[in-house]
Symmetry: C4
Subunit: 340 residues, 4 copies
């Protein structure tokens, strides 16, 4: 079983991290059904490889919201990298640059945006709409000033579900929780607003001047509402199995969302992407960008910026191999005919 590098890497990270940090990063909500379902749903999709196609040169390059990238694989947002590595998001951003990957920075960062050394034009900023909307506002304005090219609005967390290790507060000191918001008098103001609606999409776009990507969509009708409300792109996600434990897998939801809005809107996906072959499956279903979360954290834990870059490069190598074996030399040639 030569390609099982990811499980090996996770075990290595689990050995290096404090147990509660590992549990917090690895865990899902409830029975962790959604967590497991994400991964099993991809692996259940068999492929119908074509042959006798010239694959001597494989070109993975694509554009995401108009910016060119060498590959459609990108880094999903995840919180508080300071728990995982002393260099925190600086290392992640450095790894993203090394591997040429788009990085989506979580607004739950361990460092002030200004300290991270983000690569202007090559990153997006993940944001909640917080109960105190002014806190959100100042962050997206700063993100834009630092070269963020999009705001990724997380919409599947109007409340937070209990998780295997759910008490961030025990892991993250208040000063870090407030590092990008500034001190707050009422900690509740840092929580996602449960009255978030699609009207916030236009609001966030107006404030930031940036395209808004809506992350956490699992239905075609929700996607359509997002696009009608001004979303620049839609991101199929179930929060890595950390919110509704009964949620459909992202592999199962992706096709419906692509069918609903994919003709004129970019659709992304994350959740359980554990090999380059999974990325190919997602692209064949119609995803334009495929995002990787936990594996990046394991790379960060094990080897900092280099570990992050290694993970992203590994996915790219696997995707190149998978495309050659499927008889496809360009991302745009991947379609549902490949799915068994």
């Amino acid at each position: 079983m030569t390609s099982n590098w990811l499980d090996t890497l996770e075990r290595e990270a689990a050995g290096l991290l404090p147990p509660d940090v590992y549990a917090w990063a690895a865990g899902g909500s409830g029975f962790e059904d959604a967590l497991k379902r994400n991964r099993s749903a991809w692996s259940r999709i068999t492929l119908r490889p074509d042959a006798l196609v010239d694959v001597s040169r494989v070109d993975l390059s694509t554009t995401l919201l108009g910016e060119r990238f060498d590959a459609p694989l990108a880094i999903a947002p995840s919180g508080y990298h300071g728990l995982t590595h002393p260099e925190a998001e600086r290392a992640t951003a450095d790894g993203a640059t090394k591997s040429g990957s788009l990085m989506v920075l979580s607004s739950r960062a361990s460092l002030r945006l200004e300290e991270i050394g983000l690569p202007s034009g090559r990153w997006w900023f993940q944001s909640y709409v917080l109960k105190d909307r002014a806190l959100t506002e100042q962050m997206v304005v700063r993100a834009r000033a630092l070269g963020a090219r999009a705001v990724v609005l997380t919409v599947d967390a109007p409340v937070l579900a209990p998780r295997r290790q759910s008490r961030n507060s025990a892991l993250v000191p208040q000063a870090v929780l407030e590092v990008n918001t500034g001190p707050v008098t009422d900690p509740e103001m840092l929580e996602p607003a449960p009255d978030l609606t699609e009207r916030d999409i236009a609001g966030l776009h107006e404030i930031s001047g940036l395209p808004v990507v809506v992350k956490g969509v699992l239905r075609g009708d929700t996607a359509r509402r997002c696009v009608d409300a001004g979303a620049a792109a839609v991101w199929v996600s179930n929060h890595g199995g950390r919110q509704l434990d009964a949620a459909v897998s992202t592999a199962d939801a992706l096709g419906e969302v692509v069918d609903a809005v994919g003709a004129d809107t970019e659709v992304y996906v994350d959740g359980g992407i554990s090999t380059g072959v999974d990325a190919l499956r997602a692209l064949a279903l119609g995803a334009r960008g495929v995002f990787v979360g936990r594996p990046v954290v394991w790379g960060l834990a094990v080897n900092g910026a280099t570990g992050v870059a290694d993970v992203m490069n590994r996915y790219v190598e696997e995707l190149v191999l998978a495309m050659r074996l499927c008889g496809r030399s360009q991302v745009s040639a991947l379609g549902r005919d490949l799915l068994g």
Copy 2:
């Protein structure tokens, strides 16, 4: 696995109860296939959560046969609570009141109806039609006098199937078996009448002056016959997996029954509801009330009235969370579009 509180509670109850009482309460008939199938059928239903809906205020309130309740979760009938707790049905009724839940009292109670302290207008009375129909008659009349708002007629037990621990008589003294019927000369007269037909529905309604809920329906055509014969509501149940071991799960039967009679008749369900998410699945399929049986018994065993209330409150909390994560703030907004 943060939400597995129910299995923990059951283990705690199993440690406190005499083994034969635990086996009697926990067990099913035959190979216990129906028992297991009930639970697995709910958990197989994935959900398609919506997003960007204001869920800052979630309202679970509903009416059951015209009476308003804070939530659509209620207590299913189960026999002889005196085996489980010294306070017997008094504790259960107290727990129902504490949690605001509708309680369905089993006619197989350990206490005389008059001793239980039932909350007038907030409980229903479960009844068989016994071989000696006069015994049934006097009980429903007394139940009505004590404020029962409906008679729940169990129809899936024309005979009793063998169970893991099937000899009630070894557990329950004859005096208790007769506590609500008065002494009988022939114990067979306490048995359910195998010649029960839909004509008994109208008969029971006439005698009691109460709406009759028919419990133990698993088919659309049976439901339609019940309604045509005067049933006020239909309850999808396979007797908690204690009768026909080959019976379909209630999750699989519910949709058909709702389609047959749900437009103008309330449909309830029980069987394997082990989280608030299961309750949401049932409501989305069209159930108006969702009933919980064994978990209430475990709560009763572990902590009496408080334990009962804790169980019901736990379900309600989970249901509120699940609704928020599905983007639904009212029970009436739950529909089949949520089911994957």
Copy 3:
């Protein structure tokens, strides 16, 4: 698990019988997939019980080829009962009489037909067409003289497949192999004729003057050919998983055969019937008779004639219970609406 009496009985028989006899009786061919599939296919069929039907009196009586029996459960043929019990087929026939069951006597009996004490009019004679057709001829003529009411022609053994314990010859002395044929010069003459065709059906009918039941049919078109060639009834069987290991289960084949010929021809079934509920499933699919093989052998091993009768009575009790729980009081009322 109160109804798992059959597995207990089989274990008891396994402890009493010589290991090679047990293996020979219990085993199937190849990987024993067909053997396992037979049983699992029945248990996968869930039931949709009806309710509110008067089931105070359940009548299982039916006719099989015009003869009335108390129940549609009957004894399938199996070979050489002398290996299992000293009384051999005498005990089996006695058990059949005690329980009122139709018995199909195997032509591979340990005793001469004339020694068995068969109940005239209440038994059928299973026969192959042997390579030496004259041997077959004399046996069916004798069977008729002893009161056999039908010949059951086994057609799924044009050759014998290797089994877990395949060397009958090591178990059965030549004298016993020849007990009903008389001594043969060439043992190959005892083998089934591989050139058997539907023309043998009419031939056998003519020779014996008895209706011919064709056993070992798994397809609708085969069944139709049998009926067109003069078969009085068709028996869905895969030889208890002892011939083609890849064969469909009898539960899966039954419906198709009933659809093809059931309107005017009786259809029987065997294979993996391990509870009275399985019998109900088969009857609901359209079988008129349900045959039990190995369980009868276990009963015979453990308790002779009484053991055989106990097994048959147990199935009948379970079937009565299952019918009551399904709301059906007559065999003719069982239909596919009961199948989930």
Copy 4:
């Protein structure tokens, strides 16, 4: 489980071979999902046996590209038999002759073609198109001179996927790698050409003067392109689970390929054929030839030429038995009606 001879044989071979040789021969790529899926896909197909058909004489004979063979079972190409047995391909060719089987010789042989003693007219030559096309050219010309009747062009290996034991070079000395190409200055020239397209089919045909069989096809449209480009036959294969690990099983792909081109083109299949019943399944789906790879290697390891012949004869015996039990006496009578 009498027919599990193949697993026994593989275990015996595993005990005789050096561990890295065994791993190299047995292994697949990635998680070995395709390897396992090939086998499980055949065994999932149940059969619908017919009966009452004269099967006293079963004739397996068929033609493959116009040449008559006693059975449709043949030897798939596999590399470097010198790792498995001191007589290398000489033993394999001898075993093929003994059993009357068509042999496809791998171009990755341990011996020079001229040393193998190939049976003129009864073998085909497997070839890649190497990066240095001249090397391919001289080999197919020599193969033709030695009596090869077809060139089998492998098209599912434009690059090689990592395997359980992937470093041939550690197992096979450079001199052996070059035994049929002659010494090369650049070892990369021995690699399959990633720019292989259907135009190479006609090229190979022209150079060799032999019909070209395209091996490694898993889709109907690919098969159609092959035939349109001049292929004489199409071989459904996923390289024994050694290339794209996510690939569909050959059992699942076969029907589609037959539907696309089978009316006027021979279709072959390999991958997971582990009993004669699997061969029947493949033939019933429309394959004209069924190829066996690893089992031949195990036979070779355990008993040289005799071992190879034993394996092929065993498959034939099982196929004859399966046909008798299905009521089919000729290969041409096998059709999809037999598939459950």
